[in-house]
Protein backbone atom coordinates (compact mmCIF):
# COMPACT_ATOMS: atom_id res chain seq x y z
CA UNK A 1 0.00 0.00 0.00
CA UNK A 2 3.05 2.27 -0.16
CA UNK A 3 3.33 5.22 -2.47
CA UNK A 4 4.80 3.93 -5.70
CA UNK A 5 8.02 5.35 -7.07
CA UNK A 6 8.55 6.65 -10.53
CA UNK A 7 5.38 7.14 -12.48
CA UNK A 8 4.49 8.46 -15.88
CA UNK A 9 4.80 12.14 -15.00
CA UNK A 10 8.37 11.98 -13.74
CA UNK A 11 10.18 12.71 -17.01
CA UNK A 12 8.29 15.96 -17.46
CA UNK A 13 10.29 17.62 -14.68
CA UNK A 14 14.04 17.93 -15.11
CA UNK A 15 15.79 18.01 -11.73
CA UNK A 16 18.08 21.02 -11.21
CA UNK A 17 21.78 20.13 -10.82
CA UNK A 18 22.85 19.08 -7.34
CA UNK A 19 21.44 16.70 -4.74
CA UNK A 20 18.07 16.46 -6.50
CA UNK A 21 19.74 14.38 -9.24
CA UNK A 22 20.13 10.69 -8.41
CA UNK A 23 23.71 10.62 -9.74
CA UNK A 24 24.75 13.22 -7.13
CA UNK A 25 24.64 10.45 -4.49
CA UNK A 26 27.57 8.14 -5.15
CA UNK A 27 27.86 5.70 -2.28
CA UNK A 28 27.67 2.11 -3.56
CA UNK A 29 26.34 1.03 -0.17
CA UNK A 30 22.91 2.63 -0.42
CA UNK A 31 20.14 0.30 -1.45
CA UNK A 32 17.00 -1.40 -0.19
CA UNK A 33 18.86 -4.16 1.67
CA UNK A 34 20.85 -1.82 3.95
CA UNK A 35 17.86 0.47 4.59
CA UNK A 36 15.66 -2.55 5.33
CA UNK A 37 18.09 -4.09 7.84
CA UNK A 38 18.44 -0.77 9.69
CA UNK A 39 14.70 -0.22 9.50
CA UNK A 40 13.91 -3.63 11.00
CA UNK A 41 16.32 -3.02 13.89
CA UNK A 42 14.59 0.31 14.54
CA UNK A 43 11.15 -1.32 14.29
CA UNK A 44 11.99 -3.64 17.18
CA UNK A 45 13.97 -1.02 19.14
CA UNK A 46 11.50 1.85 18.83
CA UNK A 47 8.57 -0.42 19.73
CA UNK A 48 10.40 -1.41 22.90
CA UNK A 49 11.22 2.26 23.63
CA UNK A 50 7.55 3.22 23.24
CA UNK A 51 6.28 0.44 25.50
CA UNK A 52 8.85 1.09 28.25
CA UNK A 53 8.09 4.81 27.91
CA UNK A 54 4.36 4.24 28.44
CA UNK A 55 5.12 2.05 31.47
CA UNK A 56 7.44 4.71 32.87
CA UNK A 57 4.66 7.28 32.52
CA UNK A 58 2.18 4.97 34.27
CA UNK A 59 4.61 4.39 37.14
CA UNK A 60 4.09 7.99 38.32
CA UNK A 61 0.38 7.22 38.94
CA UNK A 62 -0.51 10.55 37.30
CA UNK A 63 -4.25 9.84 37.60
CA UNK A 64 -4.06 9.61 41.38
CA UNK A 65 -3.63 13.26 42.31
CA UNK A 66 -2.66 16.59 40.71
CA UNK A 67 0.73 16.63 42.49
CA UNK A 68 1.68 13.40 40.68
CA UNK A 69 0.66 14.72 37.28
CA UNK A 70 3.20 16.55 35.14
CA UNK A 71 0.81 16.51 32.15
CA UNK A 72 -2.67 17.48 33.40
CA UNK A 73 -3.85 18.11 29.80
CA UNK A 74 -3.19 14.53 28.71
CA UNK A 75 -6.87 13.74 28.07
CA UNK A 76 -7.26 10.38 26.35
CA UNK A 77 -3.52 9.86 26.02
CA UNK A 78 -3.59 8.41 29.53
CA UNK A 79 -6.27 5.90 28.57
CA UNK A 80 -4.17 2.88 29.55
CA UNK A 81 -3.10 4.03 33.03
CA UNK A 82 -3.24 1.47 35.84
CA UNK A 83 -2.15 1.42 39.48
CA UNK A 84 1.62 0.88 39.40
CA UNK A 85 2.48 -2.42 41.17
CA UNK A 86 5.02 -2.80 44.00
CA UNK A 87 6.04 -6.29 42.82
CA UNK A 88 8.39 -7.21 41.36
CA UNK A 89 10.27 -4.53 43.27
CA UNK A 90 12.84 -4.20 40.47
CA UNK A 91 10.24 -3.55 37.75
CA UNK A 92 10.84 0.19 37.48
CA UNK A 93 14.59 -0.24 37.71
CA UNK A 94 14.70 -2.67 34.78
CA UNK A 95 12.13 -0.72 32.76
CA UNK A 96 14.07 2.55 33.00
CA UNK A 97 17.44 0.90 32.43
CA UNK A 98 16.15 -0.71 29.24
CA UNK A 99 14.46 2.51 28.06
CA UNK A 100 17.52 4.76 28.47
CA UNK A 101 20.28 2.32 27.47
CA UNK A 102 18.32 1.17 24.43
CA UNK A 103 17.60 4.74 23.36
CA UNK A 104 21.30 5.63 23.53
CA UNK A 105 22.43 2.45 21.79
CA UNK A 106 19.99 3.10 18.91
CA UNK A 107 21.50 6.51 18.08
CA UNK A 108 23.98 5.19 15.45
CA UNK A 109 21.26 2.97 13.95
CA UNK A 110 18.96 5.97 13.56
CA UNK A 111 21.75 8.08 12.04
CA UNK A 112 22.69 5.28 9.62
CA UNK A 113 19.05 4.87 8.61
CA UNK A 114 18.78 8.59 7.86
CA UNK A 115 22.06 8.44 5.90
CA UNK A 116 20.80 5.48 3.87
CA UNK A 117 17.67 7.31 2.64
CA UNK A 118 19.17 10.78 2.08
CA UNK A 119 18.55 10.74 -1.73
CA UNK A 120 14.82 10.53 -0.95
CA UNK A 121 14.92 13.86 0.92
CA UNK A 122 15.92 15.59 -2.33
CA UNK A 123 13.86 13.50 -4.78
CA UNK A 124 12.51 15.39 -7.74
CA UNK A 125 9.80 16.55 -8.19
CA UNK A 126 9.42 17.18 -4.45
CA UNK A 127 5.73 16.22 -4.60
CA UNK A 128 4.45 13.82 -7.27
CA UNK A 129 0.87 13.36 -6.18
CA UNK A 130 -1.47 14.13 -3.32
CA UNK A 131 -0.61 10.78 -1.77
CA UNK A 132 3.11 11.50 -2.05
CA UNK A 133 2.73 14.96 -0.52
CA UNK A 134 0.74 13.55 2.38
CA UNK A 135 3.39 10.89 2.90
CA UNK A 136 6.20 13.46 2.97
CA UNK A 137 4.32 15.45 5.61
CA UNK A 138 4.00 12.24 7.61
CA UNK A 139 7.75 11.69 7.21
CA UNK A 140 8.39 15.15 8.72
CA UNK A 141 6.48 14.00 11.81
CA UNK A 142 8.38 10.70 11.76
CA UNK A 143 11.92 12.10 11.47
CA UNK A 144 11.22 15.26 13.49
CA UNK A 145 9.50 13.20 16.17
CA UNK A 146 12.36 10.70 16.35
CA UNK A 147 15.00 13.44 16.57
CA UNK A 148 12.93 15.36 19.14
CA UNK A 149 12.48 12.29 21.37
CA UNK A 150 16.13 11.23 21.17
CA UNK A 151 17.38 14.80 21.76
CA UNK A 152 15.13 15.56 24.75
CA UNK A 153 15.82 12.16 26.31
CA UNK A 154 19.61 12.30 25.88
CA UNK A 155 19.82 15.88 27.16
CA UNK A 156 17.57 15.14 30.15
CA UNK A 157 19.66 12.22 31.40
CA UNK A 158 22.64 14.62 31.43
CA UNK A 159 20.64 17.24 33.39
CA UNK A 160 21.15 19.66 30.48
CA UNK A 161 17.75 21.31 30.48
CA UNK A 162 18.08 23.48 27.37
CA UNK A 163 14.91 22.18 25.71
CA UNK A 164 11.92 24.55 25.53
CA UNK A 165 9.76 23.33 28.42
CA UNK A 166 9.29 20.59 31.00
CA UNK A 167 10.93 17.30 30.03
CA UNK A 168 7.85 15.28 31.00
CA UNK A 169 5.54 17.40 28.82
CA UNK A 170 7.84 17.45 25.79
CA UNK A 171 8.91 13.80 25.88
CA UNK A 172 5.39 12.46 26.52
CA UNK A 173 3.43 14.47 23.93
CA UNK A 174 6.33 14.27 21.48
CA UNK A 175 6.14 10.47 21.69
CA UNK A 176 2.45 10.54 20.75
CA UNK A 177 3.09 12.89 17.80
CA UNK A 178 5.82 10.52 16.64
CA UNK A 179 4.12 7.17 17.11
CA UNK A 180 1.26 7.75 14.63
CA UNK A 181 3.72 8.57 11.85
CA UNK A 182 5.80 5.55 12.92
CA UNK A 183 2.83 3.19 12.53
CA UNK A 184 2.01 4.63 9.09
CA UNK A 185 5.63 4.23 8.01
CA UNK A 186 5.86 0.65 9.23
CA UNK A 187 2.55 -0.28 7.58
CA UNK A 188 3.61 1.13 4.22
CA UNK A 189 7.23 -0.07 4.24
CA UNK A 190 7.37 -3.34 6.17
CA UNK A 191 6.38 -5.64 3.27
CA UNK A 192 9.03 -4.09 1.03
CA UNK A 193 11.64 -4.22 3.81
CA UNK A 194 11.00 -7.92 4.39
CA UNK A 195 11.26 -8.60 0.64
CA UNK A 196 14.55 -6.68 0.45
CA UNK A 197 16.11 -8.52 3.37
CA UNK A 198 15.18 -11.92 1.95
CA UNK A 199 16.48 -11.02 -1.48
CA UNK A 200 20.15 -12.09 -1.56
CA UNK A 201 22.78 -11.17 -4.12
CA UNK A 202 23.58 -8.00 -6.04
CA UNK A 203 21.60 -4.80 -5.33
CA UNK A 204 18.84 -3.98 -7.82
CA UNK A 205 19.50 -1.70 -10.80
CA UNK A 206 19.25 2.02 -10.11
CA UNK A 207 15.98 3.55 -11.23
CA UNK A 208 13.97 0.34 -10.99
CA UNK A 209 10.92 0.01 -8.79
CA UNK A 210 12.85 -2.38 -6.56
CA UNK A 211 15.72 0.09 -6.03
CA UNK A 212 13.20 2.41 -4.30
CA UNK A 213 15.17 5.50 -5.30
CA UNK A 214 18.05 4.50 -3.02
CA UNK A 215 20.56 2.88 -5.40
CA UNK A 216 23.10 5.23 -6.99
CA UNK A 217 23.11 5.21 -10.81
CA UNK A 218 26.77 6.32 -10.73
CA UNK A 219 28.30 4.44 -7.77
CA UNK A 220 31.84 5.29 -6.63
CA UNK A 221 34.28 2.40 -6.07
CA UNK A 222 33.49 0.86 -2.66
CA UNK A 223 35.81 1.65 0.29
CA UNK A 224 33.87 -0.60 2.69
CA UNK A 225 31.45 -3.48 2.20
CA UNK A 226 27.78 -3.23 3.14
CA UNK A 227 28.37 -5.73 5.94
CA UNK A 228 31.42 -3.75 6.99
CA UNK A 229 29.33 -0.58 7.21
CA UNK A 230 26.71 -2.40 9.28
CA UNK A 231 29.52 -3.69 11.49
CA UNK A 232 30.73 -0.13 12.03
CA UNK A 233 27.24 0.94 13.11
CA UNK A 234 27.09 -2.07 15.42
CA UNK A 235 30.48 -1.19 16.87
CA UNK A 236 29.17 2.32 17.56
CA UNK A 237 26.18 0.85 19.42
CA UNK A 238 28.48 -1.48 21.34
CA UNK A 239 30.76 1.40 22.36
CA UNK A 240 27.79 3.47 23.58
CA UNK A 241 26.51 0.45 25.50
CA UNK A 242 29.92 -0.10 27.10
CA UNK A 243 30.25 3.48 28.41
CA UNK A 244 26.61 3.75 29.55
CA UNK A 245 25.01 0.53 30.77
CA UNK A 246 27.10 0.30 33.97
CA UNK A 247 25.12 3.13 35.59
CA UNK A 248 21.99 0.98 35.32
CA UNK A 249 23.64 -2.30 36.32
CA UNK A 250 25.30 -0.84 39.43
CA UNK A 251 27.77 -2.64 41.67
CA UNK A 252 31.16 -3.37 40.12
CA UNK A 253 29.82 -2.48 36.65
CA UNK A 254 29.19 1.18 37.54
CA UNK A 255 32.87 2.06 37.00
CA UNK A 256 32.61 0.92 33.37
CA UNK A 257 30.10 3.69 32.60
CA UNK A 258 32.91 6.10 31.71
CA UNK A 259 30.76 8.75 30.04
CA UNK A 260 27.42 8.26 31.83
CA UNK A 261 26.36 10.84 34.44
CA UNK A 262 26.11 8.30 37.27
CA UNK A 263 29.21 6.25 36.48
CA UNK A 264 30.87 6.66 39.88
CA UNK A 265 29.79 6.31 43.50
CA UNK A 266 29.81 9.48 45.60
CA UNK A 267 32.07 7.82 48.19
CA UNK A 268 32.69 4.70 50.26
CA UNK A 269 30.66 3.53 53.24
CA UNK A 270 26.95 3.10 53.93
CA UNK A 271 26.03 6.34 52.15
CA UNK A 272 28.17 5.72 49.07
CA UNK A 273 25.32 5.27 46.62
CA UNK A 274 23.80 7.54 43.98
CA UNK A 275 22.17 10.86 44.87
CA UNK A 276 19.57 12.43 42.58
CA UNK A 277 19.43 15.84 44.29
CA UNK A 278 21.68 16.81 47.18
CA UNK A 279 20.22 18.55 50.24
CA UNK A 280 21.93 21.82 49.30
CA UNK A 281 20.57 21.78 45.73
CA UNK A 282 16.94 21.79 46.90
CA UNK A 283 17.42 24.40 49.62
CA UNK A 284 17.43 22.22 52.75
CA UNK A 285 18.58 24.37 55.70
CA UNK A 286 20.12 22.92 58.90
CA UNK A 287 17.16 24.28 60.88
CA UNK A 288 14.71 22.31 58.68
CA UNK A 289 16.17 18.99 59.72
CA UNK A 290 17.68 19.82 63.14
CA UNK A 291 16.29 19.07 66.63
CA UNK A 292 13.23 21.17 65.83
CA UNK A 293 12.19 18.77 63.04
CA UNK A 294 8.83 17.11 63.61
CA UNK A 295 6.88 14.52 61.66
CA UNK A 296 3.18 15.30 61.39
CA UNK A 297 0.93 12.31 60.68
CA UNK A 298 -2.63 13.15 59.72
CA UNK A 299 -5.73 11.07 59.16
CA UNK A 300 -9.40 11.90 58.85
CA UNK A 301 -10.06 14.05 61.91
CA UNK A 302 -6.84 13.08 63.73
CA UNK A 303 -3.29 14.32 63.87
CA UNK A 304 -0.15 13.07 65.65
CA UNK A 305 3.14 14.96 65.86
CA UNK A 306 6.30 12.91 66.41
CA UNK A 307 9.85 13.86 67.29
CA UNK A 308 12.71 11.90 65.75
CA UNK A 309 13.17 10.01 69.05
CA UNK A 310 9.51 9.02 69.10
CA UNK A 311 9.80 7.78 65.52
CA UNK A 312 12.87 5.71 66.45
CA UNK A 313 10.97 4.24 69.41
CA UNK A 314 8.36 2.73 67.07
CA UNK A 315 8.82 -0.81 65.72
CA UNK A 316 11.59 -0.77 63.10
CA UNK A 317 11.49 -2.93 59.96
CA UNK A 318 13.97 -3.62 57.18
CA UNK A 319 13.66 -3.71 53.38
CA UNK A 320 16.34 -4.16 50.70
CA UNK A 321 15.30 -1.91 47.83
CA UNK A 322 17.03 0.04 45.03
CA UNK A 323 16.74 3.69 44.05
CA UNK A 324 15.91 3.84 40.32
CA UNK A 325 15.68 7.11 38.41
CA UNK A 326 13.69 8.07 35.33
CA UNK A 327 17.10 9.04 33.89
CA UNK A 328 17.98 5.33 33.67
CA UNK A 329 20.59 5.06 36.43
CA UNK A 330 19.89 3.05 39.54
CA UNK A 331 21.56 1.66 42.64
CA UNK A 332 21.77 -1.95 43.66
CA UNK A 333 19.55 -2.92 46.62
CA UNK A 334 20.24 -0.84 49.75
CA UNK A 335 19.22 -2.08 53.20
CA UNK A 336 16.74 0.47 54.58
CA UNK A 337 15.27 0.39 58.07
CA UNK A 338 12.47 2.44 59.54
CA UNK A 339 8.78 2.47 60.35
CA UNK A 340 6.19 0.81 58.12
CA UNK A 341 3.78 3.23 56.45
CA UNK A 342 0.92 0.98 57.65
CA UNK A 343 2.09 1.44 61.28
CA UNK A 344 2.09 5.23 60.81
CA UNK A 345 -1.43 5.01 59.32
CA UNK A 346 -2.53 3.06 62.39
CA UNK A 347 -1.47 6.00 64.60
CA UNK A 348 -4.27 8.06 63.07
CA UNK A 349 -6.88 5.32 62.98
CA UNK A 350 -6.24 4.01 59.46
CA UNK A 351 -4.76 0.73 60.63
CA UNK A 352 -7.47 -1.56 59.29
CA UNK A 353 -7.64 -0.12 55.78
CA UNK A 354 -4.59 2.00 55.11
CA UNK A 355 -5.19 4.03 51.98
CA UNK A 356 -3.39 6.53 49.80
CA UNK A 357 -0.99 8.94 51.47
CA UNK A 358 0.14 12.45 50.65
CA UNK A 359 3.87 12.71 51.46
CA UNK A 360 5.36 16.18 51.88
CA UNK A 361 9.02 17.15 52.09
CA UNK A 362 10.64 20.22 53.63
CA UNK A 363 12.53 20.75 50.35
CA UNK A 364 12.09 24.07 48.61
CA UNK A 365 11.29 24.16 44.92
CA UNK A 366 11.43 21.34 42.43
CA UNK A 367 8.38 19.55 41.08
CA UNK A 368 8.63 16.52 43.39
CA UNK A 369 8.52 18.08 46.86
CA UNK A 370 5.32 16.16 47.51
CA UNK A 371 3.70 13.04 46.13
CA UNK A 372 0.60 10.93 46.63
CA UNK A 373 1.27 7.20 47.10
CA UNK A 374 -1.43 4.76 45.99
CA UNK A 375 -3.26 2.31 48.28
CA UNK A 376 -1.17 -0.67 47.14
CA UNK A 377 2.05 1.29 47.74
CA UNK A 378 1.05 2.27 51.29
CA UNK A 379 -0.09 -1.28 52.15
CA UNK A 380 3.06 -3.06 51.00
CA UNK A 381 4.92 -4.20 54.15
CA UNK A 382 8.22 -3.17 52.50
CA UNK A 383 7.08 0.45 52.20
CA UNK A 384 8.91 2.34 54.94
CA UNK A 385 9.51 5.76 56.33
CA UNK A 386 13.23 4.99 56.55
CA UNK A 387 15.53 6.51 59.14
CA UNK A 388 18.61 4.33 58.54
CA UNK A 389 20.32 2.85 55.50
CA UNK A 390 22.95 0.10 55.38
CA UNK A 391 23.23 0.18 59.17
CA UNK A 392 23.88 3.93 59.49
CA UNK A 393 21.69 6.93 60.19
CA UNK A 394 20.55 8.54 56.90
CA UNK A 395 22.92 11.21 55.59
CA UNK A 396 21.53 14.65 54.74
CA UNK A 397 21.84 13.97 51.02
CA UNK A 398 19.88 10.73 51.39
CA UNK A 399 17.01 12.43 53.22
CA UNK A 400 17.85 12.75 56.96
CA UNK A 401 15.92 12.63 59.26
CA UNK A 402 13.38 10.45 57.38
CA UNK A 403 12.57 9.45 53.82
CA UNK A 404 10.04 7.26 52.10
CA UNK A 405 11.12 4.09 50.32
CA UNK A 406 8.52 2.18 48.27
CA UNK A 407 9.21 -0.99 46.26
CA UNK A 408 9.02 -0.46 42.50
CA UNK A 409 8.35 3.28 42.67
CA UNK A 410 10.22 5.82 40.52
CA UNK A 411 13.08 7.46 42.45
CA UNK A 412 11.39 10.84 42.85
CA UNK A 413 8.46 9.18 44.63
CA UNK A 414 10.80 8.05 47.41
CA UNK A 415 10.47 11.47 48.99
CA UNK A 416 13.39 12.71 51.13
CA UNK A 417 13.32 15.01 54.20
CA UNK A 418 9.69 14.05 54.92
CA UNK A 419 7.85 16.34 57.32
CA UNK A 420 4.17 15.41 56.85
CA UNK A 421 2.15 12.30 55.97
CA UNK A 422 -1.58 12.59 55.30
CA UNK A 423 -3.50 9.31 55.02
CA UNK A 424 -6.85 9.02 53.28
CA UNK A 425 -8.63 11.31 50.84
CA UNK A 426 -7.55 14.95 51.07
CA UNK A 427 -9.87 16.92 53.34
Amino acid sequence: MGVTDGGPDRSRFAAPPGPTRPEFWRSPLRGPWLTAVLGLVLLVGVTLLFVTGLLSYASYNPDLAPVNDQTPDKGWLGFYLFPWPTSPYWLYRVNQGVHVVLGIVLVPVLLAKLWSVIPKLFEWPPVRSVGHGVERLSLLLLVGGAGFEFATGILNVQLHYIFPGSFYVLHFYGAWVFIGAFVVHVASRLPRALRSVRRAGAPPQAGTEEAAGLVSPRPAPPTISRRGALGMVGLGSLALFAVTAGQSAGGWWRRTALLAPHGRDPGPGPHGFQINKTAASVGIRPSDIGPAWRLTVRGPGRQVVLTREELLAMEQHEAALPIACVEGWSTSDQLWSGVRLTDLAALVGRGSDPSRALVESVQRGGPFGSVVLADNQVRDPRSLLAVRVNGAVLSEDHGYPARVIVPGAPGVHNTKWVTRLTFGEPA
Binding site: P108, L114, Y173, T223, R264
Partner: protein
Protein backbone atom coordinates in the same frame (compact mmCIF):
# COMPACT_ATOMS: atom_id res chain seq x y z
CA UNK B 1 -10.95 0.78 -14.73
CA UNK B 2 -12.27 -0.15 -11.31
CA UNK B 3 -12.76 2.28 -8.47
CA UNK B 4 -9.65 1.41 -6.47
CA UNK B 5 -7.41 1.85 -9.50
CA UNK B 6 -8.99 5.17 -10.36
CA UNK B 7 -8.44 6.31 -6.78
CA UNK B 8 -4.83 5.20 -6.88
CA UNK B 9 -4.27 7.11 -10.14
CA UNK B 10 -5.67 10.34 -8.71
CA UNK B 11 -4.30 10.05 -5.16
CA UNK B 12 -1.02 8.22 -5.79
CA UNK B 13 -1.48 5.44 -3.22
CA UNK B 14 -4.13 3.06 -1.91
CA UNK B 15 -7.24 4.18 -0.01
CA UNK B 16 -5.88 2.35 3.07
CA UNK B 17 -2.82 4.61 2.95
CA UNK B 18 -5.01 7.72 3.00
CA UNK B 19 -7.08 6.46 5.93
CA UNK B 20 -4.06 5.47 8.01
CA UNK B 21 -2.29 8.78 7.35
CA UNK B 22 -5.41 10.76 8.26
CA UNK B 23 -5.76 8.79 11.51
CA UNK B 24 -2.11 9.47 12.36
CA UNK B 25 -2.48 13.18 11.56
CA UNK B 26 -5.49 13.43 13.84
CA UNK B 27 -3.55 11.76 16.67
CA UNK B 28 -0.55 14.01 15.98
CA UNK B 29 -2.80 17.07 16.12
CA UNK B 30 -4.34 15.91 19.42
CA UNK B 31 -0.91 15.44 21.00
CA UNK B 32 0.65 18.34 19.06
CA UNK B 33 -1.75 20.93 20.48
CA UNK B 34 -0.62 19.84 23.96
CA UNK B 35 3.05 19.73 22.93
CA UNK B 36 2.92 23.29 21.57
CA UNK B 37 0.93 24.74 24.48
CA UNK B 38 3.84 26.34 26.34
CA UNK B 39 6.68 27.79 24.28
CA UNK B 40 5.01 27.25 20.88
CA UNK B 41 7.75 28.73 18.72
CA UNK B 42 10.53 27.08 20.70
CA UNK B 43 8.97 23.62 20.47
CA UNK B 44 8.18 24.02 16.76
CA UNK B 45 11.78 25.07 16.08
CA UNK B 46 13.12 22.11 18.06
CA UNK B 47 10.83 19.70 16.25
CA UNK B 48 11.65 20.90 12.72
CA UNK B 49 15.30 21.36 13.70
CA UNK B 50 15.41 17.75 14.92
CA UNK B 51 14.07 16.64 11.53
CA UNK B 52 16.77 18.53 9.63
CA UNK B 53 19.77 18.31 11.99
CA UNK B 54 21.16 15.09 10.55
CA UNK B 55 20.28 15.63 6.90
CA UNK B 56 21.36 19.25 6.51
CA UNK B 57 24.05 19.70 9.19
CA UNK B 58 25.63 16.43 10.35
CA UNK B 59 25.63 14.65 6.98
CA UNK B 60 27.43 17.42 5.03
CA UNK B 61 29.97 17.71 7.86
CA UNK B 62 30.85 14.03 8.08
CA UNK B 63 30.61 13.48 4.33
CA UNK B 64 33.21 16.20 3.66
CA UNK B 65 35.45 14.89 6.46
CA UNK B 66 35.17 11.37 5.04
CA UNK B 67 36.08 12.60 1.53
CA UNK B 68 39.18 14.29 2.95
CA UNK B 69 40.21 11.06 4.70
CA UNK B 70 39.62 9.05 1.52
CA UNK B 71 41.84 11.47 -0.41
CA UNK B 72 44.71 10.78 1.99
CA UNK B 73 44.40 7.03 1.49
CA UNK B 74 43.83 7.10 -2.26
CA UNK B 75 46.00 5.08 -4.60
CA UNK B 76 48.95 7.17 -5.77
CA UNK B 77 49.09 9.21 -2.58
CA UNK B 78 52.35 8.64 -0.67
CA UNK B 79 55.54 7.05 -1.96
CA UNK B 80 53.99 4.50 -4.31
CA UNK B 81 57.32 2.88 -5.14
CA UNK B 82 55.67 -0.45 -5.83
CA UNK B 83 57.38 -2.21 -2.92
CA UNK B 84 54.11 -2.25 -0.95
CA UNK B 85 51.66 -4.71 -2.41
CA UNK B 86 48.59 -3.35 -0.55
CA UNK B 87 47.66 0.14 0.56
CA UNK B 88 46.00 0.51 3.96
CA UNK B 89 42.26 1.02 3.85
CA UNK B 90 40.70 4.35 4.87
CA UNK B 91 38.68 2.34 7.38
CA UNK B 92 41.62 2.26 9.81
CA UNK B 93 40.90 5.97 10.37
CA UNK B 94 37.20 5.97 9.56
CA UNK B 95 36.09 3.41 12.17
CA UNK B 96 37.81 4.85 15.29
CA UNK B 97 36.93 8.42 14.23
CA UNK B 98 33.29 7.40 13.78
CA UNK B 99 33.07 5.76 17.22
CA UNK B 100 34.82 8.68 18.93
CA UNK B 101 32.58 11.27 17.21
CA UNK B 102 29.50 9.23 18.10
CA UNK B 103 30.43 9.22 21.80
CA UNK B 104 30.92 12.99 21.65
CA UNK B 105 27.62 13.51 19.83
CA UNK B 106 25.68 11.70 22.58
CA UNK B 107 27.61 12.83 25.68
CA UNK B 108 28.79 16.34 24.70
CA UNK B 109 27.00 18.20 27.51
CA UNK B 110 29.03 16.28 30.11
CA UNK B 111 32.27 16.00 28.06
CA UNK B 112 32.33 19.74 27.29
CA UNK B 113 31.13 20.65 30.81
CA UNK B 114 27.96 22.42 29.73
CA UNK B 115 25.98 21.27 32.84
CA UNK B 116 26.79 23.83 35.53
CA UNK B 117 24.64 22.29 38.28
CA UNK B 118 25.83 18.70 37.74
CA UNK B 119 28.01 18.50 40.86
CA UNK B 120 25.55 20.43 43.03
CA UNK B 121 22.78 17.98 42.13
CA UNK B 122 24.60 14.63 42.13
CA UNK B 123 27.53 15.19 44.48
CA UNK B 124 29.86 13.80 41.79
CA UNK B 125 32.87 15.57 40.17
CA UNK B 126 32.14 17.06 36.74
CA UNK B 127 35.71 17.26 35.43
CA UNK B 128 36.30 13.60 34.52
CA UNK B 129 34.31 13.22 31.31
CA UNK B 130 36.61 15.09 28.91
CA UNK B 131 39.56 13.01 30.12
CA UNK B 132 37.61 9.78 29.76
CA UNK B 133 36.54 10.66 26.22
CA UNK B 134 40.08 11.60 25.18
CA UNK B 135 41.52 8.37 26.60
CA UNK B 136 38.81 6.28 24.92
CA UNK B 137 39.60 8.06 21.65
CA UNK B 138 43.32 7.36 22.11
CA UNK B 139 42.55 3.69 22.79
CA UNK B 140 40.35 3.44 19.68
CA UNK B 141 43.06 4.82 17.37
CA UNK B 142 45.73 2.71 19.11
CA UNK B 143 43.64 -0.43 18.61
CA UNK B 144 43.22 0.49 14.96
CA UNK B 145 46.99 1.01 14.62
CA UNK B 146 47.64 -2.37 16.25
CA UNK B 147 45.23 -4.01 13.79
CA UNK B 148 47.02 -2.31 10.90
CA UNK B 149 50.44 -3.56 12.09
CA UNK B 150 49.26 -7.11 12.76
CA UNK B 151 47.51 -7.36 9.39
CA UNK B 152 50.53 -5.84 7.68
CA UNK B 153 52.87 -8.44 9.22
CA UNK B 154 50.43 -11.20 8.41
CA UNK B 155 50.08 -10.12 4.77
CA UNK B 156 53.80 -9.64 4.18
CA UNK B 157 54.75 -12.85 6.07
CA UNK B 158 55.33 -15.12 3.03
CA UNK B 159 57.32 -12.38 1.26
CA UNK B 160 59.58 -11.79 4.31
CA UNK B 161 60.13 -15.51 4.85
CA UNK B 162 61.12 -15.91 1.20
CA UNK B 163 63.52 -12.99 1.57
CA UNK B 164 65.17 -14.55 4.66
CA UNK B 165 65.54 -17.90 2.89
CA UNK B 166 67.14 -16.22 -0.11
CA UNK B 167 69.67 -14.38 2.12
CA UNK B 168 70.52 -17.62 3.97
CA UNK B 169 71.12 -19.47 0.70
CA UNK B 170 73.23 -16.57 -0.54
CA UNK B 171 75.45 -16.78 2.61
CA UNK B 172 75.80 -20.56 2.18
CA UNK B 173 76.81 -20.07 -1.44
CA UNK B 174 79.58 -17.64 -0.37
CA UNK B 175 81.02 -20.22 2.09
Amino acid sequence: MNGALAFRRRYGASPLHLLLVLASFALAAYAGVRLLKGDTLGVALWFVGAALLHDLVLLPLYAVTDRAAQYLFRKGAGAGDGSRPTRPSVNYVRVPAFVSALLLLVWWPLILRRVGHYTAATGLPADVFLGHWLLITAALFAASAATLVVRGLHASGPRRRAERRRRREARKAVK
